[in-house]
């Protein structure tokens, strides 16, 4: 191979290395795929931390009962089928002839052991408890079980798509033991635990006795490369075959490169503005001369004016380099529970000015916007661009971006009484469940600790009509009816501008020629999504 001799000769000339370079890392075999992932996982324990990189790796080893396809529609996985027997009871039938990596058969007992363990992992920074608690499980036979809930729970199958099933033998295994590879054979997935080096790599190996289609790759090597330019360079240099989270600035260049394939799809992540709905006087809004004024954001016309003053196509074109789609609700309308009636929000500066005048602010006001710095794609650039757009509307807008650790703490509970601190913030939201109920419940429902509603409602938006519609939807087990009810709630929240959506991000992967990636809405980079070209 030419590469070997060149490197040996040149290395000495350059004086970079003192040992003769006899061999190079063997070029990847046709059986292996090397993947550059953008975020570090915190553990190999499938139930320790509900975090995207953790779930993405874990679910390839420890399959969940219910799968999510590339558009996050639910598909049978370890559960062959499920049905609602009545409003509060679900019955799941398990797939037969499934074996764990250690060869033992998969039965209801393993599922019940998983339900025991998943919500109770000690010191979990973000537990799966929410998906398991409040449910009573009963075994019907070796391959059938029932779930009983106190109230109608249409999302039970969705809940079961979030965490993997482990063998009952592993129910007492600790997180540290999982990291060390103990109980690595306790999953049923297409890939097996090969090697885990914290902060560096995860190696998965093929499960040759997988119940489904045989996985293509004998080995999938996930390398953690957090710096975006480095990830792109690693792809171009041939260190890895696939990378996720391609930075928007590089997408055009990679698309033009004949040696690279780019795959992208709309994501479940919306970028939006949340604003102060609950204070009479909002802390970061004043009249232009600095004197206090009543909070203008409580007037629908002002919110409409702000929304209309945002040039969404401009942001998508110039800042996101077309790696986004203008948004008019919380999820793109191909997802479950979204409205098909909502129209795109047109950019209309004159209309916005008129509304602002009608609302009693012909000369605008002064406002300070806040946002995280480096948390979402191009977040700082977006908020700065929007500030300029608001300035053209006549609102003197200042911007302050903060490190995420500081921003979320203050945006959630920075004001006295653990109330949100800011007046107008840029945030993002990914709908992990692949439908809209989660987003509506967390972002727009009235903040209510008892009922667990509106936990991330950092504007404290509250609208009884919206709440009523959402509660109705959350109690509707029939899919078609729930879809409509959620859409109706979405329309109420969006027409009232409980928050102002900006755009949906695209998820983008790049591969070397010879590899193909099937893009997914949920940001998971799975070895099974990669095929040979």
């Amino acid at each position: 191979m030419q590469r070997f001799s060149t490197i040996g000769r040149r290395a000495f000339q350059v004086g970079l290395i003192t040992l003769p370079a006899l061999g190079f890392a063997a070029a990847a075999s046709a059986q292996e795929v090397r993947i550059g992932i953008s975020a570090e996982l915190s553990a190999m324990d499938p139930h320790y931390h509900n975090l995207t990189p953790n779930n993405m790796i874990a679910q390839q080893i420890y399959e969940p009962l219910v799968g999510q396809d590339v558009t996050q529609k639910l598909t049978p996985l370890l559960a062959e089928s499920w049905k609602a027997i009545d409003d509060t009871t679900w019955e799941f039938k398990l797939r037969k002839n499934v074996k764990f990596h250690d060869g033992s058969p998969f039965t209801v007992d393993d599922v019940l052991a998983t339900f025991q363990r998943a919500p109770n992992v000690p010191k979990s920074p973000s537990s799966f408890g929410a998906y398991v608690r409040g449910k009573e499980f009963s075994k019907v036979d070796d391959h059938t079980f029932r779930v009983k809930t106190a109230a109608p729970a249409p999302l039970v199958p969705t809940d079961f798509s979030t965490f993997g099933v482990i063998s009952a033998k592993c129910k007492d295994t600790t997180t540290e033991e999982f990291n060390a590879g103990k109980c690595a054979a306790g999953g049923t997935g297409p890939y097996k635990h090969g090697e885990y080096v914290a902060g560096d790599r995860v190696v998965l190996t093929r499960n040759d006795s997988y119940w489904g289609a045989k996985p293509i790759w004998a080995t999938a090597r996930f390398r953690i490369i957090t710096s975006s330019p480095t990830r792109v360079a690693a792809l171009l240099a041939g260190d890895v075959d696939v990378i996720e989270n391609v930075p928007t600035t590089d997408v055009a260049r990679l698309k033009a490169d004949p040696k690279i394939n780019v795959a992208s799809t709309v994501s479940n992540r919306v970028i939006y503005f949340h604003m102060d709905h609950f204070r009479e006087n909002s802390p970061f809004i004043t009249a232009k001369d600095g004197s206090p004024i009543k909070n203008p954001l409580r007037d629908l016309r002002v919110r409409q004016a702000l929304s209309m003053a945002i040039n969404r196509p401009g942001i998508v074109d110039r800042i996101m380099e077309k790696e986004a789609i203008p948004a008019n609700q919380l999820l793109p309308d191909q997802f479950f529970g979204t409205s098909k009636k909502l129209k795109p929000i047109a950019f209309d500066l004159n209309g916005a000015k008129k509304l602002l005048t009608e609302a009693g602010y012909p000369n605008g006001f002064k406002m300070k916007m806040h946002g995280p710095n480096g948390r979402y794609l191009n977040d700082t650039k977006i908020i700065e661009a929007v500030a300029q757009m608001f300035s053209r509307l006549g609102i003197d807008t200042e911007v302050e971006t903060l490190p995420a650790g500081n921003f979320f703490s203050r945006a959630s509970q920075g004001a006295p009484g653990n109330l949100p601190e800011f007046s107008f913030i840029l945030v993002g939201w990914g709908a992990g469940t692949g439908e809209s109920s989660d987003s509506l419940k967390a972002l727009l429902a009235t903040f209510d600790r008892e009922k667990g509603m509106g936990a991330t409602n950092r504007g404290r938006y509250s609208n009884p009509a919206f709440d009523a519609k959402l509660v109705e939807a959350l109690r509707t087990v029939d899919d078609a009816k729930r879809d409509l009810a959620l859409a109706a709630a979405m329309e109420i929240g969006m027409n009232d501008l409980g928050l102002i959506p900006v755009h949906y991000q695209l998820n983008t992967w790049a591969t070397r020629k010879g590899f193909k990636f099937e893009a997914r809405t949920n940001e998971y980079t799975l070895a099974t999504s990669i095929s040979k070209e």
Binding site: I7, R10, A11, G15, L16, I17, T18, L19, P20, A21, F24, A25, G36, E40, S42, A43, Y48, H49, N50, P122, K123, P125, S126, S127, G129, A130, E176, N179, V197, A198, G199, D200, R201, R223, I224, I225, T226, S227, P229, T230, A233, A234, L236, A237, G238, D239, P403, A404, G405, F408, S409, S412, G432, T433, D438, A442, R449, G452, A455, T456
Partner: protein
């Protein structure tokens, strides 16, 4: 001597204590870690429950008291994110960072010393001027930019070296090192060069200044008059005399190589403790940040002490009892 060491240790423990307080409360001023940990779709009760489990619901002074109590028993706490002992996490990433720092230090000496000597002995030649110009570049170019350029040149355009990561490792006495495999050296070359660049420039400057001064000294003139070969004059008499300041400075710089290789490790996806720190800071993983700072302070204090001891051994004029600063 013993009194000196003891006083040093007392001073150091004061430094460590002060750093502890600053870092512990400093992280808390930045934000409440709970918001960086919980999944966004958790409800209020689940968030509160997680905070309870991690002890984050208690007032900060109470958290500090608990921390002190555990620290007195040698337990610096568990990472909020990883759930493992913070000190274990750091120590497990340390070999990778030490490896990088050693190679960078070696590069600084092997590349910097000859170039600096040359520039010092022939200050007016064109080559010397070129060397000095390069050393200015080495000082002034930002590390992250040089790192990316190295990757683009040697990995992407030329394809000689891998762009990222650590090579194959071999276990020796329980420590994983990649310096015994060829693959390992290929991986370490670029990040080490990136990290070494600043130190190379530093050594060039020190060696040049020292050599220029030494070349005019009487003992050099005398050696020359005695008819010693040029090689012996430079290699023995000049080199020996200029080494003292260089060794001192490099000793201290080694500490900063280990502690602050954050940028290089991030760019080259090097799985060392610098990246662990960066990750911990972005996620407000307080136990890891605190433990990291403790490790670094101990490291610096130890190196300082060693340098002082070595220095007094090298130069009999230095008396340790006076070197209290």
């Amino acid at each position: 001597m013993l009194a000196f060491i003891l006083r040093r240790l007392a001073q150091s423990s004061f430094v460590i204590g002060a750093m502890l307080v600053i870092v512990f409360f400093g992280v808390n001023v930045v934000g409440d870690p709970i918001w960086m940990l919980v999944s966004p779709d958790m409800n209020q009760e689940q968030i509160a429950e997680t905070a309870r489990q991690l002890g984050l619901d208690r007032p900060i002074w109470e958290q500090f008291a608990i921390f002190l109590k555990n620290a007195a028993q040698g337990d610096l706490g568990r990472s909020f994110v990883h759930g493992e002992s913070a000190i274990t996490l750091i120590l497990s990433r340390m070999p990778a960072t030490l490896e990088l720092a050693f190679v960078a230090l070696a590069m600084a000496i092997v590349i910097g010393l000859p170039l600096g000597l040359y520039a010092g002995l022939k200050p007016d030649s064109r080559i010397s001027r070129a060397i000095m110009a390069l050393s200015i570049l080495g000082f002034s170019l930002p590390t992250f930019w040089v790192g990316l350029m190295l990757i683009l040149t040697f990995a992407v355009a030329l394809g000689w070296l891998p762009a990222t990561g650590r090579g194959e490792t071999v276990s020796i006495l329980g420590v994983e090192t990649s310096l015994l495999t060829i693959d390992g050296w290929q991986h370490v070359a670029l990040p080490a060069l990136n990290l070494a660049l600043l130190k190379i420039s530093l050594v060039i400057r020190l060696a040049r200044a020292g050599a220029r001064e030494a070349a005019l000294m009487d003992y050099v003139k005398f050696a020359r008059a005695k008819g010693l070969s040029q090689r012996r004059i430079i290699g023995v008499h000049i080199l020996k005399n200029i080494m003292i300041p260089i060794v001192t400075v490099l000793g201290l710089e080694f500490g900063s190589l280990v502690a602050f290789s954050v940028v290089t490790e991030t760019i080259f996806a090097w799985p060392g403790m610098g990246r662990l720190l960066l990750e911990a800071i972005t996620r407000l993983d307080r136990p890891v940040i605190v433990a990291y700072v403790m490790v670094v302070v101990v490291l610096f204090v130890t190196i300082n002490l060693l340098v002082d001891l070595v220095y007094s051994a090298l130069d009999p004029r230095v008396r340790l009892t006076e070197a209290t600063t």
